[in-house]
């Protein structure tokens, strides 16, 4: 049975491309919609609590479930501020650097998504190049 090379190439190009588009969409929403909105909330002492609540929902690629050594600060921050906000004590302006730790984590997650999207895009482009070279060789033959 002859293998249909064209379909294999198309699958190899389309699958990473689709993944790249999804990842890029999710990360772009975080980078260009959510982050500016949160930064605006962070800039005012009155809206620090709102910024914290926004940041309490993690970015898809920077979830709060798995902790590395760098994430310990974020874990302790959340444990502390969950109690503070729940008890109605609010967040003081001098505590802003701790909220910014969560913001940095969100940004890192979005950047990770963008870099992963770039990797899949390169894979897809490699597929395109291989397909083009193969077609060119076939036409010569």
């Amino acid at each position: 049975m002859k293998i249909n090379d064209k379909n294999i190439y198309i699958a190899f190009i389309a699958t990473p491309l689709a993944i790249a588009v999804i990842l890029c969409g999710i990360s772009s929403y975080s980078l260009f919609v959510k982050e500016p909105a949160i930064q605006k909330l962070l800039s005012s002492p009155e809206t620090l609590q709102d910024a914290y609540i926004e940041l309490r929902e993690p970015q898809l690629f920077a979830g709060y479930k798995n902790w590395d050594r760098e994430g310990t600060g974020v874990l302790n921050t959340m444990r502390f501020f969950d109690k503070r906000v729940y008890s109605g004590a609010g967040i003081k302006p001098e505590e802003r650097p701790y909220i910014e730790l969560l913001f940095k984590r969100r940004h890192s997650g979005a950047m990770l998504g963008m870099k992963t999207a770039a990797f899949f895009l390169i894979l897809s482009l490699c597929g395109c190049a291989a397909f083009a070279i193969d077609r060119k060789r076939e036409t010569k033959e």
Partner: protein, 158 residues
């Protein structure tokens, strides 16, 4: 082939993914008891102070209005003590500390005292503090009811 079965399997898989996300607080952390004696008109009463913690290991789910019961057993599984408890809330990554006092008559507390090698005389004379750490195998969660709340919904209401 079997299109309905495929849909059912997909739905089941999706349900499993979403429902498996919440971890129940099923571990009793650092359980201990402290027995003390109080003399009343009716006779001696054993005051058993039970303490432990329940940990919420979830990142986004808070447990609210927690009600339940711990049971303390000896090594053969015989029931020694029931400890009903209630807690208002355990926030994500936090531990809820339970400190509950149970009163028992002298004869009712005898098996518990015997298992933990606590004597009335030593308690009364102050020779023994009556405090004992409990091993995990001797403490069980007999019942546990709670309301699950998303942390963001909970905080938004504040």
């Amino acid at each position: 082939m079997f299109p309905k079965l495929k849909y059912a399997a997909a739905l089941l898989a999706l349900t499993a993914v979403f429902t498996a996300c919440t971890k129940k607080p099923d571990q009793v952390i650092s359980p201990s008891i402290k027995v003390s004696i109080e003399k009343r008109d009716a006779g001696k009463v054993c005051m058993i102070d039970f303490s432990c913690a329940l940990k919420n290991e979830n990142d986004s789910v808070a447990f609210k209005d927690i009600k339940g019961e711990f049971t303390v057993h000896d090594d053969s599984g015989k029931l020694l003590l029931n400890v009903p408890f209630s807690l208002q809330i355990i926030l994500p990554f936090d531990s809820g500390v339970i400190m509950q006092r149970v009163e028992m008559k002298e004869d009712e507390a005898a098996p518990l005292m015997q298992f933990f090698s606590i004597s009335m005389e030593k308690l009364e004379s102050g020779e023994d503090t009556g405090a004992r750490p409990l091993e995990d195998k001797n403490v069980r969660i007999a019942s546990l009811k709670y309301e699950k709340k998303d942390i963001i919904d909970l905080l938004k209401g504040k």
